[in-house]
Assembly symmetry: C2
Homo-oligomer: 208 residues x 2
């Protein structure tokens, strides 16, 4: 081992020079890259994926709970329901959409952790994840803000008894859960954005 390394230095092999030349050439598309997976980088990749899975799962739980809380306001017959107010409809439906999306993403994430490959082709998957994360997190924060404002103005104009009070508490809880769901969706949006940028820069969704 020690003998060979000084022996090589004076005369570099032609293959080495060829390889150097191949990588050095400033090619128009820098996307192609030799990406060696050491044990360390695979561990980091796994940890990153598990972090995404946790955020997705938390977002699923909170937004599902928020949607259920909002939908169940219509059970009591003589009190107002979510269906009577546009903003509460927005809250209920936005949370339901986010819950469905999060369920799908939890599945995709589990698939990726167990199999090592993405559910869709990689380029589609990273764009799909990030675009939906962005749109849905803005949608969710918008719905929850509108719901908060409606709940406030309902409380200001409220002069009736306990029925409305129960409705208002239930919708408040739903909105609070929706904000928690938004928080985790926003966090997974950060991670999937990093993944997308890493994919654009390196042609691989992870680079450590």
């Amino acid at each position: 081992m020690i003998m060979r390394s000084p022996q090589r230095q004076p005369q570099p092999l032609p293959e080495d020079r060829l390889r150097n030349g191949g990588i050095e050439t400033p090619s128009p598309r820098p996307r192609i890259q030799t990406h060696f997976h050491s044990t360390v980088s695979e561990q980091k990749l796994r940890r990153f994926n598990i972090l995404i899975l946790i955020f997705r799962f938390a977002s699923l739980c909170f937004s599902l709970a928020a949607a259920i809380f909002m939908f169940s306001t219509s059970r009591v017959s003589n009190s107002p329901s979510w269906y009577d107010f546009d903003a509460f409809r927005f809250v209920a439906i936005a949370n339901a959409i986010v819950a469905l999306y999060s369920l799908f993403e939890v599945g995709a994430s589990v698939w990726e952790i167990s199999g090592g490959t993405t559910l869709f082709p990689e380029v589609l998957q990273v764009w799909f994840d990030f675009a939906h994360d962005q749109v849905f997190s803005y949608m969710l924060v918008s719905a929850n803000s509108a719901g908060t404002e409606l709940a406030r103005s309902l409380k200001d104009g409220d002069t009736t008894g306990t029925d409305n009070n129960a409705f208002s508490i239930q919708s408040d809880i739903s909105i609070a859960l929706g904000f928690a769901g938004f928080l985790f969706l926003g966090l997974s949006s950060l991670l999937s954005g990093f993944r997308l940028a890493s994919f654009i820069v390196n042609g691989s969704r992870f680079h450590f």
Copy 2:
């Protein structure tokens, strides 16, 4: 100038070969990177910076206009003003904050395009930009949604005359301008997010 570039080409200097070797070695930290700026990548960098500047400027214009529209509702003495409603206060102040931030960022962007270096140290600048873009764009969409909902419920409960009507039109315009400002802030948030991820991955804020 034209004479010197063909003169160098036929015989590669020993320093060049040394630099090649430096890049090939698989180092444990891939962050350190000699980043050669060709004319193409410098042009792309410039275009990217100018795109950010345009978004920042558009966001400045719209949010400043939104803030002015909302603040100026208090001029007419016998009509309601922005100060009477929490949601409109939120809209006015959020837009004012975004306008100030955008003004600062326009300055920083002009500085960067003209000087080639960032205003703050690079690591601080990319994190500062992205963090503020994220927080402020969520804040702005939240404020505008709450404002929209308040404007809707004010219109539903409205039975008075033209004074309130003028106020409601003015606040509607302010909210619409605020949404336009949010759109451009969101777009610059995407670009600064890409810049940050590129910085994390490569140690340089641009990689093309």
